[in-house]
Amino acid sequence: MTEPIIELHGVTRSYGSPPTVALAGVDLRVERGEMLAIVGPSGSGKSTMLNLMGTLDRASSGDIRIAGEDTTTLTDAELSGLRAYTIGFVFQQFHLADGVTAVENVATGLLYTGVPLAERRRRAAVALERVGLGHRLGHRPSELSGGERQRVAIARAVVGEPPLLLADEPTGSLDTRSGAAVVEILHELNRSGTTVVVITHDVELAARLPRRVSIRDGRIELDQHDRTLEVA
């Protein structure tokens, strides 16, 4: 597979009028199997860029190709298909459903692919094992720690085995230890072939990744590769 999983060409995103520019002409290429951090000060446009990569938002101008698809020409249903099969999301606030168990929450990750309920649950249990929560299948989010909740959210994002995982400050509301466990899971996913893009304020976390993209005022300021950390 030669085509990159993410390709941004001259992407801008501005809000309102007079327009405030959140992203001012970004070019970025991410190959399949990469793991990279997006860093930068608050308000620099990190989340905006991640949402555009995840097709949750549309660019004001420029081209975005995800897994070879030109997203500017796709309909809402086609973009949704891309999110259902190709992209997994993890957010700082977990966004789990309070009333239902961990398995049900994770099974929701397959809801929009038309997989039957029993199969969804089976695969959800497998995904929870994978993030080390095989013993918490029947627990509700309120009965879990913050780190465990974020691991449930990761399981939900990857239960459909998408090739691309986008994480917006996944350790932002966790203590150091739970954060480290989450980061280890992200590394593990990357080792098994998933492309992982992580927004983070955590310098140590970023330093351990093979590639760091720094953003300031909606532009890419620096794109550092660290060959020694790359996955063989």
């Binding site: 949750l56 086609e78 966004h95 809801l111």
Partner: protein
């Protein structure tokens, strides 16, 4: 890897129903309150229809047992406004009409009255009449005896009398064997009739035989009313032929009626009352619909995060729209189901109080639930469109 255009988001129908029942499960009290208006509306509608169909069912049942093939012909008024009499041989001619199965007659004796005994004031007739009738009368009018026997070939000749239901009650006669005072003669009661819906004039009559009437009261043999039953299919034809057969000289004087028609008309539920309840029901349904819409708007606002998350998991705008539309429809259907049961109970209570059988067409019950689902769909459209338009990025960042 397959192109994205071939890997479409899919939501199974069963899963969609599961998502739609969220509102009912997560907020049962709120669901109950917002479905209340719809329940009241549909209950009123079902009750109105149920009460009217149940009362009609009773009439239909009664008519089925009485038959609708009876015609009554009476002497109208003549050219001078005097009460006309029918020719004595009229009944014979009626029996010869094609399709006529039975025919009989009565003759009212104007100057003869019935009393409990000789001591009663002659002015106190109690609105009772004395009529002459023969054996076949009870068959032609579907009148049933509750006591004793009918006048037969033997008793017709003697001072024997059969009393109508009201007549027996007015005279204080409970059983056969008692005697009453008719036109200055003592008569023995041999039978008491049940109510006679097709020939209500018999209810307040004392019926005596033709022979004794001729002997004691100079009865001339001219009937005042003729009862006739014919083949069901030929009722209209017979109706046309009757006046000519009864009175060939002046057929215009003969008045023909079909008592079953009058009975059916009298028993239908008051239209104004029905209209009022249907109006109340529609307003309640409208208010109920607004209640459901309101609940849905609140639900959409509260669940923006959930909507954003679902979008990020691959839900299309259409999936989100369907989810909230189904939720509104289930909410309304819940109200509709409860309302239908309440409407049925009201009908059953009213029917029981009136001695009717409950007869609501099943189609009406189905229609009740269908109507509420439609109301729910209409109420849910705008909130569902709003939900589908929710921007996933703002919903997830907030």
């Amino acid at each position: 890897m397959m192109p994205a255009t071939e890997r479409r988001s899919r939501l199974r129908f069963g899963d969609l129903l599961g998502l739609g029942s969220h509102g009912l499960k997560a907020h049962p009290m709120r669901a109950a309150l917002s479905a209340l208006g719809i329940a009241i509306g549909i209950a009123a509608m079902i009750a109105v229809i149920g009460i009217s169909t149940s009362s009609e069912a009773l009439v239909r049942e009664k008519l089925a047992s009485l038959g609708t093939n009876m015609l009554t012909a009476s002497a109208g008024t003549d050219f001078f406004g005097e009460d006309a009499k029918l020719p004595p041989d009229a009944v014979e001619r009626v029996r010869r009409i094609d399709g006529v199965e039975t025919a009989s007659w009565i003759a009212t004796l104007d100057k003869v009255n019935v009393y409990r005994n000789a001591a009663v004031d002659p002015g106190a007739t109690g609105g009772l009449t004395v009529v002459v009738g023969e054996n076949a009368l009870l068959d032609a009018t579907s009148s049933k005896l509750i006591r004793g026997s009918r006048l037969n070939a033997a008793t017709e000749r003697y001072p024997a009398v059969v009393l109508g239901e009201r007549a027996a009650q007015k005279l204080g006669i409970r059983d056969v064997g008692s005697s009453v005072w008719i036109g200055g003669n003592q008569f023995t009661v041999v039978g008491i009739l049940d109510r006679s819906p097709l020939a209500p004039e018999l209810d307040s009559a004392a019926i005596i035989g033709p022979d004794i009437a001729m002997e004691l009261f100079d009865f001339d043999g001219s009937p005042t009313t003729i009862y006739e039953r014919s083949d069901d299919a030929l009722v209209a034809d017979v109706r046309d032929l009757l006046p000519g057969a009864i009175n060939p000289e002046s057929p215009n004087e003969v008045k023909v009626s079909r008592p079953s028609d009058a009975l059916a008309a009298k028993n239908t539920v008051d239209q104004a009352f029905t209209g009022l309840l249907v109006g109340v029901g529609s307003i309640a349904l409208l208010v109920g619909g607004i209640g459901v819409a309101n609940t849905m708007v609140i639900s959409v606002l509260e669940r923006r995060r959930e909507i954003g998350m679902r979008r990020s998991l691959g839900a299309t705008r259409r999936h989100i729209r369907s989810q909230f539309l189904v939720e509104a429809m289930l909410l309304a259907a819940y109200g509709g189901l409860v309302g239908t049961v309440i409407g049925w109970l009201i009908t059953a209570l009213v029917a029981r109080a009136n001695g009717w059988i409950v007869a609501i067409p099943p189609l009406v019950l189905v229609a009740g639930v269908v109507v509420t689902v439609v109301v729910g769909a209409v109420a849910g459209v705008l909130p569902a469109i709003r939900a589908a338009r929710t921007s996933p990025t703002t919903a997830l960042s907030g």
